[in-house]
């Protein structure tokens, strides 16, 4: 493989990448794509803050060669986005869709041109990693996976081809660490700050679990855990009640009920 060659050929043509999905993943990948010479167009969305950094359009631009779908929490919206992309894109264009909370194969059943879709691991705060997990669906031919591999290589990422399973590798491991930290927290084992210190100094984790939850976004973490719970049906993936409460309120500490509100 020749990453530099593929990068320059794509850059010369300024291939159009259309990105749909939720913040902050969309912004992370838009920045990454622009930095690597792509013509990035981001889906116009009424609840997204307006900025001038990227082209925004509600209509999929003609000539789009790759579409990225980066929704993890609202799967109904994800389905609508994928169906819209499938209708608007030429059959040769690939759709790379985050398959962290719903398998890529299941997503492929939502659209007509199933061959064009492949899954990838997109979770906020990890877009700077030099390795990305990608998953072919039961319908994806080798040709589509080659397009996916070239695309991520051009972004400076090495692709790891993994089985198409909910949670993939990185989100499943990291979110379960966060979930365990939340169980410990709600049992009064320690404080959020000390939990972070312990994991960073005791086992050299790059971030403490609570810091990580905040960087990823607690709703994203909950979405990953709910998906694992749903898909694997095991008690070990049940969401810590404190984590769920966090996703609702954004507060780490539950008020002492005896103190009143």
């Amino acid at each position: 493989m020749a990453p530099s060659a593929s990068k320059t050929s794509i850059a010369r043509k300024k291939a159009i990448v259309y990105i749909t999905g939720e913040s902050p993943l969309v912004e992370e990948y838009a920045a990454l794509g622009s930095a690597h010479g792509y013509d990035v167009v981001v889906q116009w969305n009424e609840d997204r803050k307006r900025d001038k950094e990227y082209r925004r359009s509600a209509i999929v631009p003609a000539g789009t060669s790759i579409a990225l779908e980066l929704t993890n929490t609202d799967l109904e919206r994800k389905k609508r986005n994928l169906q819209k992309l499938d209708k608007a894109l030429p059959p040769t264009a690939a759709i790379i869709s985050s398959s962290v909370t719903v398998s890529a194969s299941e997503q492929a059943t939502w659209i007509i041109h199933r061959h064009r879709l492949a899954g990838c691991c997109a979770l906020p705060s990890f877009s700077a990693g030099t390795v990305i997990e990608v998953a072919p669906t039961v319908y994806t031919p080798v040709e589509t996976m080659e397009v996916v591999r070239r695309f991520f290589t051009s972004l400076g990422k090495h692709c790891e081809f993994v089985e198409d399973r909910v949670g993939m590798v990185l989100p499943r491991v990291v979110c379960q660490i966060i979930n365990e930290a939340c169980f410990a927290l709600q049992e009064g084992v320690s404080t959020p700050a000390e939990l972070d210190t312990a994991m960073k100094l005791g086992v050299n984790y790059p971030r403490g679990p609570i810091e990580w939850a905040e960087a990823i976004g607690i709703r994203q973490v909950e979405a990953v855990l709910r998906a694992l719970e749903r898909d694997l049906g095991e008690d070990r993936y049940r969401v810590a009640p404190l984590l769920h409460q966090m996703a609702l309120t954004g507060e780490w500490w539950n008020r002492n009920p005896r103190e009143g509100s």
Partner: protein
């Protein structure tokens, strides 16, 4: 602040704790029943100090003063002046309980008695004491003279003044204390469980190979080592035993359930680096990247 400090048990952890304290200027009574073990410990401490000099962490003129501050002893009554004694003997509840019973009779009434246990209940170990409010857990990490973290473990009986004393001691020897309630695995061993447990499940479900999982978590998430490399380093038998102990202590909570792959590796004698083969194979101490030789066999990938 503390003037007299004692360590019971001159194994790897005990020697490391003694060195950490001696480096910060404390005089340390290092006790072991076995004279040979004590001599070996002092040799290891000297080697560690020299390594610290080579790495520029310890000034060269500090070597002999640091080593001279560690006093090897084989009599528990030598702890009579100590304000704090940390126990780092074998992880056996009966042995530790017995030791604490004796320690209490050989130390002054105001002395704080601490255990360095990582997997036993501090409450159970210190239940034999008459003055349980002066008992606490001080969980150091290996190598104890380098790792900055100490989990300060409080039982229901531990007094606030004992906690404050223990925290200031940990600060004094240049480490960072985190206060933990006495629960199985404290913080680190507990919150780190899914790092291994989920990785083993992913391998068992053939979502990815162990090499892939290691690469993804290192280069994708920023972990210094992958879970399989780390299990090989720790020892797959040791990691399995810790998981099993957590599972038992939480009465079968499924989040801590061990994985059959762990047992199979132990049954096969593939315990990691120390046996030359674990998830990876090792030539002397270097990891072999030959995945064909590694076990379990990687699943057939579609690409």
């Amino acid at each position: 602040m503390i003037k007299h400090f004692g360590v019971v048990g001159a194994g790897t952890m005990g020697a490391g704790i003694a060195l950490a304290a001696a480096r910060s200027g404390l005089d340390v009574i290092l006790y072991d029943v076995n004279d040979t073990v004590l001599r070996q410990a002092l040799e290891r401490i000297k080697a560690d100090v020299k390594q610290g000099v080579a790495r520029g962490k310890i000034p060269a003129d500090q070597v002999s003063p640091i080593v001279a501050r560690i006093h090897p002893r084989t009599n528990l009554s030598d702890f009579h002046a100590c304000e704090l004694v940390v126990e780092a003997v074998i992880e056996d509840l009966r042995v530790k309980k017995d030791l604490f019973r004796h320690l209490e009779t050989h130390t002054k009434t105001s002395a704080v008695l601490a255990t360095n246990t990582s997997s036993l209940s501090v409450t159970a170990i210190t239940s034999v004491l008459r003055r349980q409010e002066r008992a606490i857990g001080l969980h150091f990490f290996n190598p104890a003279h380098i790792m900055k973290l100490v989990e300060v473990v409080r039982t229901q009986a531990t007094s606030e003044s004992t906690i404050a004393f223990a925290r200031s001691f940990v600060h004094h020897i240049g480490k960072s204390p985190v206060l933990v309630r006495d629960t199985p695995g404290f913080i680190v061993n507990r919150v780190a469980r899914p790092f291994y447990g989920e990785a083993l499940r992913l391998l068992g479900e053939q979502v990815a190979t162990h090499e892939q999982i290691d690469r993804i978590l290192k280069q994708g998430a920023g972990f210094a080592m992958g879970p399989f490399e780390l299990m090989d380093l720790i020892g797959i038998d040791v990691n399995f035993a810790v998981t099993q102990s957590m599972y038992d202590q939480f009465f079968g909570e499924p989040r801590y359930r061990p994985h059959p792959i762990q047992k199979q590796m132990v049954d096969a004698g593939r315990l990691g680096k120390k046996t030359g083969a674990g998830f990876y194979t090792y030539n002397d101490t270097t990891k072999q990247d030959n995945s064909a030789e590694s076990w379990p066999l990687p699943p057939q990938r579609r690409q």
